[in-house]
């Protein structure tokens, strides 16, 4: 168990180093940051001075080491565009993105799992076929289109939900939350559905196919032959066995949700990291872009680690440390 976690941590560190290298490369070889920071009338001397101040003249390995060291201390540089520390900038946007992503993931799970279970148990039912058809739409429509359609219906025509922004956010220390006000919650609905719809259909289809597969297994047949109730067979035996892949996919998808929040945040003008990233791309604000990359990678790595640990909780076959000597 300990060895397993250590091995995973080591892998995580390796992944983070590679991503940092890419970020660093991006930092140093994409565009000319000075151009984006200064006006037309700045003199060449002033530009050189700025380069020196920003440390852009030092040898590359030194700069990479400094980059890593700074990153570890949470110092991610200064935004070229807003002349503000990137760390603080991103941190101020982080709560909005995390709340949106979590809401999307919860939506995907709470709707996707029951739908998948239903479709798995009654694959021939008309409702199951309807779910299947809808999920096909969910998978094939691009996110921005779904967002725009939802805005059209619920904000423009029905006028019951806001079409942009985060509603009212309340500060809890450095964290701002929209979950405590009615306006904040209302503002969350459309973006969360937009962002989570793809994952919802993915989870539904996954649970459905896993259920169908598990229901065909011998241990389910044997559970029925033992006279267990349908509820016991379907939920404690079948559903539990579909959880390992569902946890994997949900975990990986949570990373994807956070990463893909970029599009949804743009459509809904949601003040999160994604929107910040898009804006910094437009301005070649490399420190922000690079930090965003690193942060997303970090989230992926953490999520993967948690997913691996969850396996342990669900599947006893992985707990190899107990001597499972077959007699």
């Amino acid at each position: 168990m300990i060895a397993f976690v250590l091995r995973r941590l080591l892998q995580a560190v390796a992944v983070m180093l590679v991503v940092s290298l890419i970020s660093f490369a991006l930092f140093n070889f994409v565009g000319d940051p000075i151009n984006n920071m200064v006006g037309q009338e700045t003199t060449l001397d002033e530009r050189a001075e700025l380069r020196r101040q920003l440390g852009l003249e030092d040898p590359i390995p030194l700069r990479f080491a400094r980059f890593i060291g700074n990153a570890l201390q949470g110092n991610l540089g200064v935004s070229y565009r807003m002349a503000e520390p990137v760390g603080r900038l991103i941190l101020s946007r982080l709560p909005a993105t995390l709340e949106l992503s979590l809401a999307a993931a919860v939506f995907a799970l709470l709707v996707g799992v029951p739908m998948g279970v239903y479709c798995g148990l009654y694959p021939r039912a008309p409702l199951a076929r309807l779910f299947q058809a809808v999920s096909l739409v969910g998978v094939s429509l691009p996110t921005f289109l779904i967002g725009i359609l939802l805005i059209l219906i619920f904000a423009v025509h029905l006028n019951i939900l806001p079409s942009f922004g985060r509603g009212e956010a309340v500060a809890l220390g450095w964290w701002t939350t929209g979950l405590l006000t009615a306006a904040g919650l209302k503002a969350l609905i459309l973006p969360a559905i937009t962002l989570g719809l793809f994952q919802m259909t993915l989870i539904m289809r996954l649970v459905r196919s896993e259920m169908l597969e598990v229901l065909r297994t011998d241990y389910i047949k044997f559970a029925r032959a033992r006279g267990l109730s349908n509820r016991a067979v379907h939920f404690s035996h079948a559903l539990r066995n579909t959880l390992v892949p569902v946890i994997t996919i949900t975990g990986l998808q949570l990373g994807a949700i956070i990463a893909f929040a970029v599009i949804t945040e743009t459509v809904f003008q949601w003040p999160g990291m994604g929107l910040l990233f898009i804006q910094s791309v437009q301005f070649a604000d490399v420190p922000v872009m690079a930090s965003y990359l690193i942060l997303i990678a970090l989230l992926f790595v953490i999520i993967n680690l948690v997913v691996d640990l969850l396996y342990y909780a669900v599947d006893p076959r992985l707990r190899l440390d107990r001597p499972g000597k077959a007699a």
Partner: protein
Amino acid sequence: MAVPALANEPLLRVEDLRVEFPTRRGRLTAVDGVSFEIAPGEVLGVVGESGAGKSLTGAAIIGLLEPPGKITGGQIVLEGQRIDNLPYHEMRQIRGRRIGAIFQDPLTSLNPLYTIGRQLTETIRTHLPLGETAARERALALLRAVGIPAAEQRIDQYPHQFSGGMRQRVVIALALAAEPRLIIADEPTTALDVSIQAQIIALLKRLCREHGTAVMLVTHDMGVIAETADRVAVMYAGRIVEIGPVREVVRHARHPYTVGLMGSIPLVGRDVARLAQIDGAMPRLNAIPLGCAFNPRCQKAFDICRTQRPDLRRVGPVAVACHLFDMPPADAGRPP
């Protein structure tokens, strides 16, 4: 099947059972008019090549045919109660409680995510009015009865911590958990190591004798049948071709198919070389030949075998479905 009126009702009576699969090109009849009885405490062996309909017959009895398979004819009577047309929730109360089942592969019969103790207590508590502690006591007793050493420790282990043979013992404990009157054991040792097979069969036989449990023992292995069963039914292409006391069927096989099957066990005093070899394979369900389904492979087939399906009829102590035994009663009863 002309059975003389029995003084006591059999435990299980299967009458003219028919199992069909609807397909786009008509219905496939996988079990075609099968009739047999099992007395309380009796072991009925069921043999036949793969695809003969043995498993489907067992699944039909316990009410677990997988759709689109369906019982389309006949009836199944358990202790005087017709059970083939019961609603799902009533049949569920019979499964495990009055009819137990053991399947082929012990490696896949147990849910990998639960300890065997939990699977046992869950089964016990489904059928018997016991609390968690009493159920656990009973589970421990069952594990000891099936020969799991150190049951107190093993009860909290997961299936993957047991070997195949040990797992099949657990499966037997599960099948016996609520003391059913009948156990359907579908090839319970086929997936096991040869060295363990005999142990498991002996265990099953001993436990069922102790509890007075009847067994429908499906197997490929004529040797197991010869040692374990009281009576044996030989199935071919969805029908019973011969059924009778095991000694009769093994020693004096009458149906040419049974004669061929017996070739698979070396018996003392029998010249193996002279045994009829069965060439060819069992027909597929959509291509069952006219007349006797076995006729294309039968060396003794004659005209009527190709046009008219033989019915199961009493021949001495057994019943056989073969035109060779249509002859006058004087000749019948003697093996050809």
